[in-house]
């Protein structure tokens, strides 16, 4: 595979651990409320059948995945280079990416907005990267001082 020459590194941005902890914490709290409320009305006991136990376990696993999902972004990072970027270890040249822009997307079902760096090729999740857009501006635009 051809090594991509991205040129000189201009800036970088790493995961926003505070935001990840906050979002995981909120999800955990909501999940805990639901579990405690459920347990109070349905005390834990042996499952009625294997199938019921399996379904209960599956629901628990999906809930745990939802709660701890933000923690999967602890290793997110992005490096900005002269001719491209390296996002979580994968390199992209600006020739491949085309026009780049940033957007925030907020669903009516969520408290928080997600931030994306969009390109013609792919959208990169920047929600859990601290000052991603700020570092992009510092790399490729002139900062007024």
């Amino acid at each position: 595979m051809e090594e991509k020459n991205l040129g000189v590194k201009l800036s970088e941005a790493w995961s926003d651990k505070g935001k990840i902890a906050l979002r995981a914490g909120i999800r955990f709290s909501l999940g805990a409320i639901v579990v405690v409320a459920g347990m109070r009305s349905n005390p834990i006991g042996r499952p009625v059948s294997f199938m019921a136990g399996a379904v209960a376990f599956l629901i628990f696993a999906l809930a745990a995945a939802y709660v701890f999902w933000p923690l999967t972004h602890l290793r997110d990072y992005v490096e900005f280079y002269e001719y491209g970027i390296c996002y979580c270890g994968k390199k992209w040249t600006f020739e491949e990416l085309g026009e780049v822009s940033f957007c925030e997307m907020k669903s009516s079902r969520s408290f928080f907005a997600d931030v994306y760096m969009r390109s013609n090729k792919k959208s990169f999740l920047f929600t859990y990267i601290k000052d991603g857009k700020k570092q992009y501006n510092r790399a490729y635009m002139n900062i007024y001082q």
Binding site: K133, K134, N137
Partner: protein
């Protein structure tokens, strides 16, 4: 319903309105000679040759799109921010970005009559869209008289009534000059510069 609850509700609305009005008034006063305005002027001085002969102003552009299906409607709003420098026959549009306390700027888009195929605007309004000789949009911008720091998507306090009036006059003259030289008639409608052929 208990009249006391109605009175409390009305009172709360009045108090919120007063707070909101005071906040806007404070932001408007701040914008008259604000740091944000000086930043725009300084950026223009850095990028535009003979900047003193130009009028510098803050410009924006917003685009709202609706999408989605039956159960949900998605609203997408895009924002662009610019420093604009103009004088008769010439305009420079400098893209800006406000992020994390930084103000950053890109390369100036410099436009004269010879660069343009069409200018779409409505005489008397403060918005304009510039198109090249192939009638492809280059940039669109609004220079409004009042900008207040309402939220993260409206990041500056800039009052610029004189610049706004000068911009309206500039657009009227520039549009006439460019469109007459290219033999084009525009509609004056945002996003639809030409009438569709029947």
């Amino acid at each position: 319903m208990n009249p006391m609850y109605i009175a409390i509700g009305v009172g709360a609305v009045v108090v919120l309105f007063i707070i909101f009005y005071i906040q806007i008034s404070i932001n408007e006063k701040k914008g008259v000679d604000s740091e944000d305005k000086k930043t725009i002027q300084n950026i223009v001085k850095r990028l535009v040759p003979d900047a003193d002969t130009y009028t510098a102003a803050y410009g924006v552009w917003e685009e709202i799109n609706f999408g989605g299906g039956r159960r949900s409607i998605t609203t997408t709003t895009k924002y662009w921010y610019y420093a604009v420098a103009f004088k008769p026959g010439n305009i420079h549009v400098i893209p800006l970005s406000y992020e994390g306390g930084d103000v950053s700027y890109g390369k100036a888009i410099s436009l004269t009559k010879d660069d343009l195929g069409m200018v779409n605007a409505k005489a008397g309004d403060c918005w304009v869209s510039f198109y090249d000789k192939n009638q492809q949009e280059i940039v669109s911008v609004i220079v409004g008289p009042s900008n207040t720091k309402d939220d993260k998507y409206h990041p500056v306090n800039i009052q610029q009534k004189e610049e706004y009036e000068a911009f309206v006059q500039f657009i009227k003259e520039f549009m006439t000059e460019v469109n007459e030289s290219n033999h084009v008639t525009v509609t004056g409608k945002v996003g639809k510069p030409l009438k569709k052929a029947k």
